[in-house]
Symmetry: C2
């Protein structure tokens, strides 16, 4: 009888209900809440996070974790206990007051950032960011000591369990060497831009098309929604996955590929094993795998010649443009694999995207270790951006104000985007080896085989394995940047 | 130094953040949530309610309440302490397991009711309602003993603090005597139905018109939203008030008056004193006063000749019908004061509405005291309905399945609708005496004077006074059904 373990399962189920409530409150804040609700929402979030922290770090929890370690457990139960201990270590390291203060500062800063970004006025949000950074550095310090990690690794570990910046730097250095000459080669051989379909593209038509393609990919509308937010994201819970997008009537493709991206996230959440719902082992493994699922759909499967052949008629039909120039599969594909350095990360092409991530990773490490202050951030951003991509942002809206992450307290998150891109290439290659007909299936809008493979090799594993072990089992090798580089070469140099 | 009191304020602020989170989760469940999210939402609600209960009934709370009673307090602080004790008494009476079980059973029953109502299949939801009733009776019993009240009064007191069924029965008996001959007189003298504007009325136009009139009444969109749900309601929090409606393209007036009704609720929430946000004394007084605020707007102020003169051109404009027959103020007013017995409470006119409430009050008293079983409810409903209004519902969708209340666990709520209607008539008469120009202002769409009077005499008082004391201060007399009857006579017999 694993009594201590059973008590822990009850405790963690309650914790998951609080986490799910927080997820909904966050989603609502981003998608629907009127501005005047911000202060009370911040108080709600802070209190729920504080209660979660109190419950998780109650005196009995440490004893139960120790006791349960001596009880006979199945493999999944043992993995669950491991994840419980991980959660507890992260939480117990922080005093409850600091958790509440971080939540309040994060909400206040995020709401201010919305105005500051619109007005390209970094100074307006700077004091809020400075306070949030101060609290984050304090948390990183305390947590790092408790976990035996550097402050930055302690933050990174929240999003990427087991992730260590030293290993990531090695991979990023490899990419940083590869990309500049590769980018030059791509730009020098890039064919002329194809004819591009002209808008306006009505929001309602864009939305209908997005819903149609979500369905093609396997999104279950009985268990989710599509809404609008300034910064698209995938929120909610596995049984009620909420994805968001934003619409630009001059450019439907940007929103559409964003919807496909978030659908990849949603399919991962939805594919987590129902039997382990609410338990730590039943959660998604970490952010690099999460990002791999969104990028596998957006970049590997759908930004392909085959998928464009399938989707082009649907797109033309959605906007009443069948037969007009620019709506054939070749033009749409060509427009979607253009490479052009630009200021905005979320609009970046696959080739320049890693440079955006490398910049942010460098800057946030410096912010956390104290070698960069908030006041100096805009200048450091612009200088770093110029040295990586040869461009200088004309204002901070196109610079250090563009992303929500830091303003919401998420330091240590950015590296997972590029880890995710590499993981996506590796998983898609493995899926292609296992499903010889994959390209043809995608070109016919048949996603069930691909989704089935992902369900089995990624989603159903949840957090029962480490990221490294999962990738090894699924693909036969550890994370290997060569597969990502090979993908880029094929698409952008060989133009297959 | 009121130290115990100060600790209680901190505790009740945290409790209010949980209550606000629950309000948002409830609103989302009714307005947006996909059906597949129901089970996990029920677990979230149950856990948050359980945490709220644990926090409120923690061992220290009783001692703090006793200690604070001996501390020097301002009037508002003393009233706050009184409300805190009320909350505590209601909560401490119930074991935590029962609270959680009630929440789960309520969520499960409500979700099932949505299907059962659509299919007019009472049998489908009956086992869920029976279980919910079993738990509610248990709670009523236990709570009644703790509060020194009958089980039904213990339930009523949750919605109508200080409300007692014996007093309500006296008032309801008065109305039950007055109404049948009055109804007969109204029907015998009712003029022929005026020409009615024909639809379809597009949902988007209805929504735009609703938003326009919400603004006229004083709704602040920085602090609220209008959405859609099957059963319209006012939810959210004072800083983020969420009202809902449902649209029928064949009849815009029903939704529009519903929006005005919910706006009345929202203005009350929004007018609660900001200084007491999150404290029990800062909450709305009770459901009869809440309903008085919605009915004052819907029935007293806006279902009037004067308001229709103001609104008729806006309505005609909204649907591109200016100058067409049926869109003049007289026709619209005439159509809005038609009296016709019907099956659905929320569609009932002012004259027959009390009969709907009297029926439900009788039935729920019998369900709670055990003299009526769930299995016998449909027959008892149909028989009671026939004896009160001379009609027999053709199916349970038009009978005992029509309202959400019981299926959500809200027994003891129904009487507050008719108490609210009487209170609305009394408050509106007092406002008219204080504002001699009120009718003209309403006829010009100027609601600021009326809202100002309500803010001062009702909203700003929050829960610092009992319902009876508030009404006495605001109107100079206790609740007096004569004012409601005089209103009905003027509008429906004298046809002023």
């Amino acid at each position: 009888m694993a009594q201590a373990y059973a008590q822990l399962e009850t405790l963690f189920a309650r914790l998951s209900h609080i986490e799910e409530s927080l997820a909904l409150l966050h989603w609502d804040m981003a998608a629907l809440m009127p501005a005047g609700g911000a202060e009370s929402r911040a108080r709600q979030l802070a209190t729920l996070k504080g209660l979660h922290h109190d419950l998780l770090t109650a005196a009995a929890t440490a004893d139960l974790l120790d006791e349960a370690g001596g009880e006979p457990l199945s493999d999944w139960q043992a993995a669950n206990l491991h994840e419980m201990r991980r959660d507890w270590l992260h939480a117990a390291a922080l005093p409850g007051d600091l958790v509440t203060a971080l939540s309040r500062a994060g909400s206040a800063c995020e709401m201010r950032w919305r105005q500051a970004r619109a007005a390209a006025d970094f100074g307006d949000v700077a004091p809020f960011l400075a306070e949030l950074l101060r609290l984050t550095r304090e948390a990183a310090q305390v947590k790092g000591q408790a976990l035996g990690l550097s402050p930055y690794d302690a933050l990174l570990d929240q999003y990427e369990p087991g992730g260590r910046i030293a290993q990531i730097e090695t991979v990023f250095a490899d990419l940083a060497d590869f990309l500049p000459p590769f980018l030059e080669a791509v730009l020098s051989r890039q064919p002329p831009a194809p004819a591009v379909a002209r808008g306006p593209f009505p929001v309602q038509s864009q939305r209908a098309l997005g819903l149609r393609l979500m369905e093609v990919l396997g999104f279950e509308f009985e268990h989710g929604r599509l809404d609008i937010s300034q910064h698209p994201f995938c929120g909610g819970t596995p049984d009620d996955v909420r994805i968001t997008t934003r619409y630009d009537e001059a450019d439907f493709m940007r929103s559409l590929l964003g919807v496909i991206h978030e659908t990849g996230h949603a399919l991962y959440e939805r594919g987590l094993p129902a039997a382990w719902r609410g338990q730590p082992v039943g959660r998604a493994r970490g952010m690099s795998l999460h990002e791999s699922q969104s990028l596998l759909m957006e970049m590997q499967a759908c930004r392909s010649r085959g998928f464009m052949a399938f989707a082009a008629p649907l797109m033309a039909e959605a906007f009443g443009a069948a037969g007009q120039p620019g709506w054939d599969a070749d033009s749409l594909y060509g427009a979607n694999v253009r490479v052009a350095p630009g200021f905005i990360r979320v609009d970046a092409d696959e080739v320049t995207y890693p440079a955006h991530v490398i910049l942010r990773t460098r800057l946030e490490r410096a912010l956390i270790d104290g070698s960069l202050t908030v006041a100096d951030l805009p200048a450091a951003w612009n200088e770093g951006f110029h040295s990586l991509l040869g461009l200088t942002p004309p204002d901070d809206r196109l610079g250090c104000l563009q992303d929500i992450h830091w303003y919401d307290g998420a330091f240590g998150y950015f590296p997972t985007y590029t880890l995710g891109a590499m993981t996506a290439a590796q998983l898609f290659a493995a899926a292609g080896a296992a499903l010889p007909d994959l390209d043809r299936q995608i070109a016919q809008g048949q996603f069930a085989p691909l989704l089935g493979w992902l369900r089995t090799h990624v989603h159903a594993k949840a957090s029962s394995l480490s990221t490294d072990a999962l990738l090894l089992q699924a693909t036969g090798q550890p994370l290997n940047p060569a597969l990502f580089k090979a993908h880029l070469r094929r698409r952008y140099l060989d133009r297959v």
